[in-house]
Symmetry: C2
Subunit: 218 residues, 2 copies
């Protein structure tokens, strides 16, 4: 069910980060707070609670568990405060189950390059050792096999993590920045009106996984 | 400077709305509150106040004036509360001037279909004659001729209007839903890191314009 992004995506939400020669990082890893790390591909656990509204049917809150594989760029500087780090989601795999909707699997939409960045908030650039902020724009596919339905977003889901004191922000909580609703479309009928909406999303980054743990999730 | 969207855009943020046979509406128009109107192309004034952050240079707040041309779909129902209306931005032209940055012109990015919808908020669907909410995802180009620079967004700018009691929501205030910052990229160097950020945006929809007023703005 996990899908890696291959080839050239049609839509890029930001800069593409180099992956060649970048180490694939599993547990255990030592992460030093307030130090911009060398490039890496982080294999991290993730949990998420998403609420879906299906007009005329109902609203459904679903807990998801899974992992992400994220490539990080060379920091633009060795200095924590002024450094920027760019990220791409290479893989995402989350599973949840709803009594009404059945199992739901979430993966990346390979039409999109899901991109992000970590930088110091503008208001904190004069602070000593400020926390940084992480933002990532994501194109996802929600697969609902019991309903024979695959849904996707056409506007990126913006995932944000504040108070980032180490990179990667393993263990941090984050939020999907959704104003009221984010339309979801039917993969089988992409030009039609939205069939559902994501109305809220909160998540928690986990820690580094073992290679076996990411493989077991496939 | 105004640019109409022609051909097939590479990125569509939502459904495409039919324009053939849809009347092009200028002032004067009679808009009836709480009644879903027949399809139309609305030529409306707009003003906007945008704040741009250019790292290492400064933060600049600029007032813009101009117009938009928006096509509205046939409402999905005659009933105000349950009706949905889909919209596409066909044209946008705004001009502003900053003492530091010089003149700035804003137009649509023709690579994107900028799309929106008007519907009743989920929480208000049982209310009698509820206000509706309008949301639109926009791909724009900001032209800064003094700096020889054109900037664009890769994540859509989400413009929202609440308390919509008539369609179109002429005269309503609205907001760009920006969490901290929205990256802007250099048209001449699209694969590079962002060069500026939009950090806040508030706008006000104007009323119907005359044909002469929209032509004068070109």
């Amino acid at each position: 069910m996990a899908t890696a992004v291959t080839g050239e995506p049609k839509i890029k939400y930001g800069p593409q980060v180099k992956t060649e020669g970048v180490p694939n990082l599993f547990e255990p890893q030592t992460v030093t707070p307030f130090v911009p790390p060398p490039p890496g591909i982080d294999n991290l656990g993730i949990t998420s609670t998403d609420t879906f509204k299906v007009p005329g049917v109902g609203e459904f809150t679903v807990d998801f568990t899974g992992y992400v594989r994220v490539v990080r760029s060379e920091p633009t500087s060795d200095d924590w405060t002024s450094s920027e780090v760019y990220t791409n989601l290479l893989e995402m795999h989350m599973e949840g189950e709803s009594p009404e909707l059945g199992p739901i699997q979430v993966r990346l939409n390979s039409d999109c390059l899901s991109t992000g960045m970590i930088r110091t908030p503008f208001a904190d650039e004069q602070a000593t050792q400020p926390a940084k902020a992480c933002r990532m724009a994501v194109g996802a596919i929600f697969e609902l096999p019991r309903l024979g339905l695959e849904l996707y977003n056409k506007e990126p889901v913006l995932l944000t993590i504040d108070d980032v004191c180490s990179i990667p922000p393993a263990g941090n909580p984050g939020k999907g920045q959704i104003y009221q609703m984010l339309p979801l479309y039917d993969v089988a009928n992409p030009d039609a009106e939205p069939v559902a909406y994501l109305t809220s999303l909160s998540f928690q980054m986990g820690t580094y996984l073992s290679r076996a743990e990411t493989q077991a999730a496939h």
